[in-house]
């Protein structure tokens, strides 16, 4: 464009303020659709079974906590809660430590076969979980863990392990070599360098992994369902909730109350960690 070309200034159709309002309204509508099932669940948990299908809207007319009491006592939710906490905390610790260490080596060390390992790891992402449940169960049984909570916990570590390793590898590969070399000059061992220098630097990824693994372990259904088929006492919450489905009758009130109890901890966790979590994901993406 030549320098003297005149630029015509068109007034915008909507003022910036109007545009913001419009966008907010649209987004709010989308959000409402998104969150409706959740609201329905919470609402149903406060109604009795008859009221749930009486089409009375989301706000219960006579809210009661009876469903919660029933869910906690009769359906054993208390002990399932403990099982789930055990599986979640155990798998989060194992997964975070193991995936960060693997990611560290894969991301920062050049060794023969590294490309192959990366390719194999990446390949497993494409194998659907359903296909591996039976072999995993078989493996647990052979290890004598088929009937124990430890088995459920170990199996739950599988989930998105590979993705976590890749996240860590990507992050660690960008940390400048000099940091590691400085530690080396200081005589700091490989393990200590990892633990005191590298892992703290990877905090955004650590938080991401902790949150994602927590969500996964807490909500996973298929794997614990299969592993605990023969042993109801080691069921996790998500499986326990499913048990409200009787032969002829589904206790919707109890089921939604149990569901609400079961998602409460992860919602709270997310509220506390969302800033780190979002930072971590953004960091992992923008690199």
């Amino acid at each position: 464009m030549p320098h003297d070309a005149s630029v015509s200034i068109r007034p915008p159709v909507l003022s910036p303020r109007m545009r913001r309002v419009l966008i907010s309204v649209v987004l709010a509508a989308v959000c409402a659709v998104w969150i409706y099932p959740l609201l329905w669940m919470v609402s149903a948990s406060l109604k009795d079974n008859a009221a749930i299908f009486a089409n009375e809207g989301l706000i219960p007319e006579r809210p009661s906590f009876e469903n919660y009491v029933r869910a906690w006592k009769e359906a054993n939710i208390g002990s399932y809660f403990f099982n789930t906490v055990f599986v979640t905390v155990g798998s989060v610790i194992l997964v975070t430590i193991a995936s960060s260490m693997m990611g560290y080596v894969l991301g920062r060390r050049r060794f023969v076969g590294r490309g192959l390992i990366f390719a194999l790891i990446a390949f497993t992402i494409f194998v659907p979980q359903g296909y591996t449940i039976i072999p995993v169960f078989d493996l647990l049984t052979r290890m004598g863990l088929g009937q124990s909570l430890w088995g459920v916990m170990l199996a739950t570590c599988g989930g998105s392990f590979v993705i976590f390793v890749l996240l860590f590898a990507g992050y660690f590969s960008q940390i400048p070599n000099e940091l590691e070399e400085a530690a080396k000059m200081d005589g700091v061992s490989f393990i200590k360098t990892f633990w005191f220098v590298m892992l703290p630097l990877a905090r955004p990824i650590v938080v991401t992994v902790v949150v994602m693994q927590t969500l996964y372990a807490w909500n996973d259904f298929l794997l614990p369902l299969v592993v605990t088929l023969a042993n109801p006492s080691i069921r996790t919450l998500s499986v326990g909730v499913y048990a409200f489905r009787g032969e002829n009758f589904i206790d919707w009130g109890g089921m939604t109350a149990a569901s609400t109890i079961s998602i409460l901890p992860v919602v709270i966790l997310f509220l506390f960690l969302q800033r780190y979590f979002i930072d971590g994901l953004a960091g992992a993406v923008k690199g």
């Binding site: 400048p176 070399e181 080396k184 200081d186 061992s189 630097l201 905090r203």
Partner: protein, 366 residues
């Protein structure tokens, strides 16, 4: 006493040799600067001394002990990186003490050494800050502090000033010179591609090119008596002017135009190139110099002026004249060769043996 000794040190990456047998002797307490153009192997050499790169061949000795296969932390060396390499999540205090703490030094001792180093570097009030909250120059000090607390016998610096702006670079350069005096007895090896840093800091300069040592010597020694064209051109600012000579009759040589110059002395016949620094030539009336040229640019620095003269054969020379001379651009001028002249043969080597003779060389206009 020898501090660090390199004997026929070689380095290959895969099949590619990048350092081809380097011999350097560094005395204890000396400030040695490795200087050379980008890619000449300075960093590689320094990192081999540090223990961060494996040594492909040769012997590296520190205080008389062969340390080729000794861990970096056990060599008594500490390194300051170009990018500072501070641990971002630790405070200045923790950064400096990290190595000591990890190796089980008692807390009190760590604290003592950190505060000692902080005092030397005048960063005491920064101890609680994170690296992000520091300026470039302050980070640089912390990086040096991290080296000092280890009480190393040898300090290694890889272009420590190159991330600083021009003014700070000069200031920090001075600080480094002072630091070397305060830490008397510790050897310092310093890598840079900036010959000014080399000249100002070094007790001894090692000029490297393409993985080989071109010359080792004191700064003024290299300036006065460069071993070859490369060193002559590399050391000193502005760059030395080189005048190619073409064979004439006997000891009379021709420049690229018709002007001639007569040389005398034993090795005169082998002379192929004359080297003159900017202050070893003067300007004259167009027909009174050894040859003539046109003034293309004048840089006025206040106390002096650099006058760029394009000769009749199209070469650009730089001549230093006193400030306020007010040379005009575009005018025709004569160039007189005067003062000290350097002589190089066809291979680019200077004539060290006949040096004294040549200083008195009689250069006449033919």
């Amino acid at each position: 006493m020898t501090g660090v000794s390199l004997k026929d040190i070689k380095k290959s990456y895969g099949g590619l040799e990048v350092v081809h047998g380097v011999d350097i002797e560094i005395d204890k307490g000396e400030f040695v600067v490795f200087v050379g153009p980008s890619g000449c192997g300075k960093s590689t050499l320094l990192r081999m001394i540090a223990g961060l790169e494996e040594i492909t061949g040769g012997d590296l000795k520190i205080h008389g002990q062969r340390v080729n296969d000794v861990d970096p932390s056990n060599r008594g060396v500490a390194m300051v990186f170009q990018t500072y390499a501070l641990y971002p999540h630790m405070t200045v205090d923790q950064n400096m003490g990290f190595g000591l703490r990890m190796n089980g030094t008692p807390k009190a001792e760590v604290a003592k050494r950190v505060s000692e180093a902080a005092k030397i570097l005048q960063i005491e009030e920064l101890l609680d800050r994170k690296p992000k909250q520091l300026s470039g120059g302050q980070r640089q000090r912390v990086a040096i502090g991290r080296a000092i607390v280890r009480h190393p016998q040898v300090f290694l610096f890889d272009e420590p000033l190159s991330n600083l702006d021009a003014e700070l670079r000069v200031a920090t350069r001075l600080e480094l010179a002072k630091l070397h005096q305060k830490l008397a007895g510790s050897t310092m090896i310093y890598v840079t591609h900036d010959q000014v840093e080399a000249m100002t800091l070094a007790d001894k300069i090692v000029v490297l090119r393409k993985g080989r040592v071109e010359q080792i010597g004191e700064p003024m020694e290299l300036y006065e008596n460069p071993a070859n064209l490369f060193v002559a051109g590399f050391i000193g600012s502005p760059k030395m002017n080189f005048l190619d000579l073409e064979g004439g009759e006997g000891l009379t040589f021709r420049f690229k135009d018709a002007s001639t110059v007569a040389l005398s002395g034993d090795a005169a016949a082998q002379t192929a190139v004359l080297g003159l620094r900017a202050d070893q030539m003067t300007l004259s009336e167009p027909d009174e110099g050894h040859f003539a040229g046109t003034v293309s640019v004048v840089e006025r620095l206040g106390d002096s002026e650099f006058v760029y003269v394009t000769t009749e054969w199209g070469q650009e020379l730089v001549v230093r004249v006193p400030g306020g001379t007010n040379t005009q651009m575009g005018v025709l001028t004569g160039v007189v060769l005067s003062g000290r002249t350097h002589f190089f043969d066809g291979e680019g080597r200077s004539f060290p043996v006949f040096r004294s003779l040549w200083t008195k060389a009689d250069i006449n206009r033919g």
